[in-house]
């Protein structure tokens, strides 16, 4: 077990790579459909979802490592309920009942006694065990502290409390922080310290909250979770800075990411800006618009990859071509191949 040998892992080890790697973020639903599994199995069966990712990696020849994360992470783990995707148009689990409904619930909610059996943790663990057995780099499930807090009570409730009843919002974040630190510890205890912690923060995007609220409600707790992971011996943290976070970028520079970190950006953030602010300490990844990957003409997609590679290629700690958010499960296979082709043809180093 340990850090793998793909090009992204080589960048983490400070090794030279021959070309810009391609790492499609959150590809397991696309991968599962590609091998005949259902969308639901991409989330409900850790072993199948990881195998599908590894097979997709073999088929398309991309870099990176399997990743188990999903939007409403935290809801089920704290006693709420989620529904796995089914039907033609669903692509990810949905929270159907939050663990916190009333203000009173905030003060009675507790971090699960046994994190290893909470909600989707056993599924994530099965996913990581499969990755480790295949020699791939292991990564924790999503440890985004603000997004997880929103999944305990709903983002709308958390948002209102941030202004009107901040003590309730802070309590949600404390619970989220303690749970995530415990989860990362479980992964370290199981796989050792040569793993990555993963963090995605879609709910912290400026489409949702201000930089001022980021500073008060995201920054301190993220520093605590990241610092705890680094104290456990984890060397690299991969963070998906989801959506439009242009107003938050200066705050992100204050959060320790390891040496180097891995930072992935949405198409809303200019890669030059990302490199300028965060490229000295982290590998920069991004940021092809998911709608274009799914709906675009291959020529337009190739052009978008060209622009991303041109902007990112000179990043001091390295650049990885990636989707700007979760890889669209209904992407035409040729479009994904186009991304790999663009990196091979335009990303030689």
């Amino acid at each position: 077990m340990g850090i793998g040998n793909d090009r992204v892992s080589m960048l983490l080890k400070g090794e030279r790579v021959d070309m810009v790697p391609v790492f499609p973020l959150g590809i397991r639903a696309f991968a599962a459909l590609g091998v005949g599994y259902t969308m639901g199995e991409a989330y409900s069966d850790g072993e199948k979802s990881c195998r599908a990712e590894l097979w997709a990696q073999e088929q398309y020849g991309f870099d990176g490592f399997p990743n188990f994360a999903y939007g409403p992470f935290g809801a089920w783990e704290f006693g709420g309920e989620i529904k796995f995707p089914e039907g033609e148009f669903q692509q990810a689990p949905m929270a159907v009942r939050y663990p916190v409904i009333s203000e009173e619930d905030v003060w009675t909610l507790r971090v699960p006694d046994d994190i290893s059996t909470a909600g989707a943790i056993p599924i994530g663990m099965a996913h990581s065990l499969t990755a480790a057995a295949a020699g791939a780099t292991v990564m924790t499930p999503n440890a985004g502290v603000f997004t997880t807090a929103g999944n305990l009570c709903s983002v709308q409730k958390l948002a209102r409390w941030m202004i009107k009843k901040p003590s309730l919002a802070h309590r949600m974040l404390e619970l989220s922080r303690d749970f995530l630190i415990g989860m990362v510890q479980l992964w370290v205890d199981t796989f050792g310290k040569d793993i990555l912690m993963y963090n995605a923060e879609p709910s912290a995007a400026n489409q949702v909250i201000s930089a001022r609220h980021f500073e008060e409600f995201v920054l301190p707790y993220s520093i605590e979770v990241h610092s705890a992971a680094l104290r456990m011996g984890i060397k690299h943290i991969m963070t998906h800075i989801c959506g439009d976070q242009n107003l938050n970028l200066d705050h992100w520079t204050k959060i320790p990411m390891g040496d180097p970190g891995l930072l992935t950006f949405g198409h809303e953030v200019d890669l030059h800006t990302a490199i300028e602010k965060l490229g000295e300490s982290s590998v920069i990844m991004g940021n092809v618009e998911p709608s274009l990957i799914q709906n675009g003409h291959p020529n337009d997609l190739y052009d978008a990859c060209r622009a991303a590679i041109k902007a990112g290629k000179g990043a001091p700690r390295g650049f990885v071509l990636m989707s700007g958010c979760g890889f669209p499960p209904k992407t035409p296979p040729y479009n994904f191949f186009t991304m790999v082709k663009a990196a091979r043809e335009l990303g030689k180093l």
Binding site: V155, Q156, R160, I163, N206, Q207, P290, S291
Partner: protein, 217 residues
């Protein structure tokens, strides 16, 4: 009957209390409007709705975000609850109607809820179908209520694929209906390729886009 000076003071009070998301203050001023005999329609449109217009501008300029908008909406609805029972039947024309919904397969409804607030504030009659709405239901509901506009929201790249199907069922049912779309994976080009009549980048722009679509109809 309130003096012009008092009326202006009340309308400003309604506007400011919505913008400053002071729910209790909004109720207080709305009650004052009733007590002073102010026309409820004028109080709503000249006070509460104007306040939400300002809030929409602040959101577009990234001075307000979702938390502030939600609390402004709470203040707006609290004020509406006081004033609506006092509306005179003849005091306003038949409102424009819009159906709103998050498409099948998607439950991300924050954006749709904010859009609803903006249409409510602008005096539209809103038929909110909620989230994860089956494709056929939009046309069924449009037939029932005769809405001039249908607003569709999607946050996922998979659920957005329901949009062209919904638009087709709507067009098959009523060729005059206008369709407005929005949500993270969409943009004006995709909206046009799906056959939508308009696209709103955020809640603050939605009412303006809907009005433009109706003018072009």
């Amino acid at each position: 009957m309130a003096s012009d000076e008092k009326k202006a003071e009340i309308l400003k009070g309604l506007h400011d209390s919505v913008v400053e998301y002071e729910e209790e203050k909004t109720v207080e001023v709305a009650n004052e409007a009733v007590a002073e005999g102010l026309d409820a329609f004028e109080a709503i449109m000249g006070g509460l709705a104007k306040g939400m217009e300002t809030v929409g501008d602040l959101y577009v300029r990234q001075e307000y975000f979702v938390p502030e908008l939600l609390l402004c909406a709470d203040a707006l609805y609290a004020g509406l609850e006081v004033l609506k029972p006092h509306l005179k039947a003849e005091s306003h024309a038949e409102p424009r109607k819009i159906i709103l919904g998050v498409v099948e397969g998607d439950i991300h409804d924050i954006g749709k809820n904010l859009v609803k607030v903006m249409f409510d504030a602008a005096g539209w009659q809103v038929f909110d179908l909620g989230a994860d709405v089956k494709i056929e239901r939009f046309a069924e509901e449009q037939k029932k209520c005769g809405a001039q506009v249908v607003g569709l929201s999607a946050l996922m790249t998979t659920s957005m694929l329901a949009i062209p199907r919904i638009i087709k069922t709507l067009r098959d049912s009523d060729s005059t209906v206008r369709v407005l779309v929005g949500g993270a994976p969409l943009n004006p080009d995709i909206a046009a390729s799906y056959g939508a009549d308009g696209y709103a980048d955020n809640a603050g722009e939605a009412v303006e886009q809907a009005m433009k679509m109706l003018q072009q109809a």
